[in-house]
Symmetry: C2
Subunit: 345 residues, 2 copies
């Protein structure tokens, strides 16, 4: 049942995977996750067995751990944590994929997964590392493009502010805005990241929200003509500071609000707290998966830019499946620079 | 009735102006225009008397000479030809404007015009010459911006083709697309203009449609990834040549079709001759005056770019009111580089 020569898992191989142990309230902790060891699954008819190379941890996962209405169903307690992964097909009962091929798909925080062959896709990263399929060429890169171009309707000459600018999405969004002829200002929580933004990535300015004495003033200083487009990743006080500087007919592309994800209902002041009708600002939330018909176009463009060095990326790679919860929890502290990955095998 | 000191017209001054003598069929000729000399008008209550410094001739005027349904009423035979002008207030019966002020408005092919003070506006070209209010900072510049950004939805990484690229609108549209992070290809009818586009204006390539042996092939060579946005100024065979290379989800912003303006109904093959549904191309015509709420924003941006040298412009200035018909007729031959103006005083 498990063809594939060198790449077949040993009979003694086990599959370690993380379950959602409890639904966290407020800040998640390592105790909300449980590592279990099971047998490597065998692929059923139409399935492939994938050995995970990298799994992606992303802020949206905090929402799936909550039992609340959202655009996707919550994950169940006692069930495996899910993740976008890159891995190698080690056994196949699916005609379209052979052992040895590298694929990506929505799998698990696990060393192995058996999954319908239709639910993974062959990776097309060209000469770039396969890990980019989870970052600059994957969901985060697509999100950056959709938020900047499709939702944010970026215009040449705009001043664009990106929050969580040192993260997987923000760092790419800012570079797309730079290519699109904009003044780009990143908001981040570490001087090291600020230096990366204004140095290697070509941002025009960066603001460290943790050290700024007067955050609205610092944003205003970095944006002398106001803010035409705000790529919103964080919410809270950073959002308030940017809102004060929005220009007439400005736009806010709401990608996420990580500063609020660990707060419970009732702890968050709802609504746009400082937004005036006067500026005719359009605030629009978006979910990248709604834009699937654009992914081929966006992928071509991102691949070209990365290959040409127009868009640069970093990955923070945590080694070992056993470290997956810490990698995830670090997102809320901003310990990652660029895309946070877990290297599994 | 005519205050204003040094700038008041002499009592002996006359006002030369051009009338539409006959409605042309096909190519207009100088005989379709008649120059008459009348007295300088006196401004009535609420009016200003404006002495024309520059008048603008534009391709759209051919449409006004035709008795056909359009977005604006046709001009009448025996009536003065109209034009966007820049001039000096030499007498005022309007509270908001004083003699000596420089204004722009829709006036006439004439040395003087008396007009409601509400129908002209003070010029705001900053340190730039007042003539720019008729070109790069005026209707042509606004048209270039609206067509590229609002209608064309330019995206960073697009390949953008502009026809009549050496003209007032096309030369600015291409530069906006360049700033917006695009590969920009201009189509023009003279090597001198092609050199200007790829040299001073920073276009990536230019195609001379008059000398290309295989125009569709030449466009294809200049656009190896296809054409994502076509800024259409000409129609006809140039349009056909570009259409062959349109990408999936491409856009055509139809600003004008000067190649067809001198043809009569029945002489023009109607419809998108080579456009396939397959590419999901959006073809959209536009009239810049529908976008008036954007003009302040667009004006600020263009003024900044021109001041910073990011957008460059040329003007072809024909001297003397008596030459206005020739300046207009030259548009159909492409004798102008950049904006065609007539210097009147």
């Amino acid at each position: 049942m498990i063809p594939g020569g060198d790449v077949r898992p040993m009979a003694s191989d086990t599959n370690r995977r993380w379950l959602l142990a409890t639904r966290p309230t407020g800040e998640p902790t390592r105790e909300d996750f449980e590592l279990e060891t099971v047998d490597v699954p065998e692929p059923g008819p139409g399935e492939v067995l994938v050995r995970t190379r990298y799994l992606s941890v992303d802020p949206y996962m905090r929402g799936r751990m909550r039992d609340a209405d959202s655009y996707a169903d919550p994950w169940e307690v006692g069930e495996p944590m899910r993740a976008r992964c890159v891995g190698e097909v080690v056994a196949s009962e699916y005609d379209g994929l052979a052992p040895g091929e590298t694929v990506t798909g929505n799998l698990y925080w696990a060393e192995y997964a058996a999954v319908d062959g239709d639910r993974v896709e062959r990776i097309d990263t060209g000469e770039l590392p396969v890990s980019t399929a989870l970052g600059v060429l994957g969901m985060p890169g697509r999100t950056a493009y959709v938020g900047t171009v499709d939702v944010g309707r970026v215009e040449p000459g705009d001043t664009v502010v990106v929050s969580a600018a040192g993260g997987a999405v923000g760092s790419v969004a800012g570079q797309i805005a730079r290519i699109a002829g904009c003044r780009v200002v990143g908001i981040t929580g570490a001087d090291e990241k600020a230096d990366w933004l204004t140095g290697e990535l070509g941002f025009d300015a960066a603001v460290n929200y943790r050290t700024a004495d007067d955050l609205p003033g610092a944003v205003g200083e970095a944006c002398p003509r106001g803010v035409d487009l705000y790529f919103e990743n964080v919410g809270g006080e950073v959002s308030d500071a940017v809102t004060e500087h929005l220009t007439d007919y400005s736009r806010v592309a709401v990608c996420g609000k990580i500063a609020l994800y660990n707060r419970e209902a009732g702890e968050v002041t709802q609504g746009p707290r400082r937004l005036h009708q006067r500026t005719r600002t359009r605030v629009e939330g978006f979910i990248v998966s709604d834009h699937a018909h654009r992914f081929e176009h966006i992928g071509d463009r991102l691949r070209r830019w990365v290959t040409d060095g127009e868009v640069r990326y970093r990955e923070t790679v945590t080694e070992g499946i056993e470290e997956a919860p810490d990698a995830f929890l670090g997102l809320f502290e901003g310990t990652n620079v660029g895309k946070q990955l877990v290297a599994v095998s």
